[in-house]
């Protein structure tokens, strides 16, 4: 078994202890509270990349969406990769993110999340569980709205799991919460929609 301290589960305000065991993965908030567990059969894939607090282990689960564990040290990678290989037969994929600062790229729909790739590297990913609504906001423009808790006060502070939300509301865990994102997708709008635009005028 491998154990790591000061790890944040799904952007939880509180850190906790993360354990990688033969039977699966666990996270327990340091301040007390329920333990989050993920059975080994539910682990479909894993990625390693730089995140906000440190390095992030992202788990693509089979039934619980995307699980993000942030706060690892760069040197933890070897221990994690070995444990995942040995216990789950899974290769932890190391992923470098785009740092160019460009706002153009390619949106790609994966199994559990939408990735925005800049020069074939992801700039960011949006788990589908975080999206509350999408709509066509204009010609070639798509608006994506995110799930957020109603009141700012309840945001990720008192929930079980030390404020982590294993599903949804990841945007609500940040101090500055992402509410909406709009994409401009050139050339994909069918003629029909252009026609509709014309009619509205």
């Amino acid at each position: 078994m491998e154990s790591f301290e000061r790890i944040h589960l799904d952007l939880s305000k509180q850190p906790g202890k993360c354990r990688i065991a033969e039977t699966g993965l666990g996270w327990k908030p340091s301040g007390g509270g329920d333990t989050f567990t993920l059975d080994l059969n539910n682990i479909g894939g894993a990625q390693w990349s730089r995140a906000a607090k440190g390095y992030e282990l992202k788990i693509l689960s089979r039934t619980s969406g995307v699980i993000q564990l942030d706060g690892f040290d760069q040197e933890d990678f070897d221990r994690i990769a070995k444990a995942f290989k040995l216990f789950y037969g899974i290769n932890v994929e190391s992923k470098e993110h785009a740092l160019r600062g460009w706002n153009w790229g390619k949106g790609e729909f994966g199994k559990a999340e939408l990735a925005f790739n800049v020069q074939n590297r992801p700039a960011f990913e949006i788990p589908y569980t975080e999206i509350s609504n999408t709509n066509l906001a204009g010609k070639n423009e798509v608006a994506v709205e995110f799930s957020l808790p109603a009141g700012g006060a309840e945001t990720g502070t008192n929930g079980h799991l030390g404020g982590a939300r294993s599903r949804g509301h990841k945007a609500g865990a940040a101090k500055d919460q992402l509410v909406e994102m709009r994409f401009y997708i050139p050339g994909t709008v069918a003629k029909k929609e252009k026609h509709e635009d014309g009619e509205e005028k």
Binding site: K53, N103, K106, F124
Partner: protein, 136 residues
């Protein structure tokens, strides 16, 4: 250019080369204006995501109930903005992030960030202008 033809040019820019160049404040999942790198770092699903000031059109703050909203608009095709001989993006057929809206209960900080972005943008445009005048 030399042939007297006005072409849309794209001048490459880059926020960071390595992920250890992020300001340390990104750990708090807040919007960080990194003046040194001419970059705004935005928290998107737990990840610090850099956007170079050259991609930004404007930023504005508005209040609604207990929240302040900061909307950042980016340059993208089909907006009819930008100087004629300049293209702020490399590929007009790509997908573009056109806007991002954040909310916070700290109205003063949101106002401050909006102002910082506006100032950074102004300075970038001014520097660009000065460079052009020198080139001409």
């Amino acid at each position: 250019d030399a042939n007297g033809v006005t072409q849309k040019k794209f001048k490459k820019f880059e926020s960071y080369k390595r992920d250890n160049q992020f300001p340390s404040r990104v750990a708090d999942l807040v919007i960080v204006v990194d003046v040194k790198a001419s970059t705004i770092v935005l928290p998107i699903m737990g990840r610090p995501v850099p956007f170079h000031i050259n991609t930004i059109k404007n930023a504005s703050k508005s209040d609604e109930g207990e929240f302040s909203y900061l909307r950042i608009n980016f340059l993208s095709p089909g907006q009819g903005v930008g100087r004629k001989d300049d293209q702020p993006f490399e590929d007009a057929n790509a997908h573009f992030v056109r806007s991002l809206t954040f909310r916070s209960t700290d109205a003063d900080r949101m106002q401050d960030i909006a102002q910082q972005i506006t100032d950074l943008r102004k300075n970038a445009v001014r520097r660009e202008q000065e460079k052009k005048e020198l080139e001409d």
